[in-house]
């Protein structure tokens, strides 16, 4: 899983049926200092995450299909958690 921050959303009316009724979130990826890396990812919302939140993104297809309960869903990235705090430790 990777850490990301929700910085936008994607609006789409013509799409694969698995996207129907689900939010497409645009997340920037975070580095080990919790700063944006510059890379982004479009993930389905599996939990109700929103603007500006730091989230846990599952970036693996079979896990995503398990969450969607759809063995044929063409989805790799899905938001599976909202992060309260990341403790960077003393290192």
């Amino acid at each position: 899983m990777i850490l990301g921050r929700i910085t936008g959303n994607v609006v789409s009316t013509i799409h694969h049926p698995v996207v129907e009724g689900r939010k497409l979130l645009l997340a920037e990826r975070l580095d080990q200092q919790c700063k944006p890396t510059g890379a982004y990812i479009i993930a389905l919302d599996g939990i109700g995450a929103g603007r500006g939140e730091t989230v846990l993104i599952l970036d693996e297809g079979s896990g995503a299909r398990q969450i969607l309960d759809d063995a044929s869903a063409p989805v790799r990235s899905i938001v599976v958690g909202i992060v309260d705090e990341v403790d960077l430790g003393a290192g």
Binding site: V11, H16, L26, Y40, S72, P74, R76
Partner: protein, 95 residues
């Protein structure tokens, strides 16, 4: 999934049987501001509705094949949906 813009249509002269039913489009990957980012790639179009100029989102690997019907096809990138709008929150909206 990542953003991309369709920059062309690929017309194959010869193709493996498994791919013959699928439209192939040339796609330039985009960053989240809509600027070109990386090398163009050929995507199978699962929506069958994308065309040149259209902003889309696409998936790679096994998920690409799953977006098509039939889904057991040898593709590595496929278009999952057409983009109407990308809303990037402003710094003020994020704080």
């Amino acid at each position: 999934m990542l953003l991309g813009r369709v920059i062309g249509t690929v017309v194959p002269a010869m193709l493996v049987d498994e791919l013959s039913a699928t439209p192939l489009l040339w796609v330039q990957p985009l960053d989240r501001q809509g600027k070109p980012d990386g090398e163009p790639l050929v995507c199978a179009d699962g929506t069958r509705m994308a065309g040149p100029g259209q902003v889309i989102y696409w998936v790679a690997s096994r998920e690409a094949a799953l977006s098509l019907d039939p889904s057991f096809v040898p593709v590595d990138d496929a278009i999952v949906g057409l983009v109407d709008d990308v809303h990037n929150y402003t710094k003020k909206e994020l704080d």
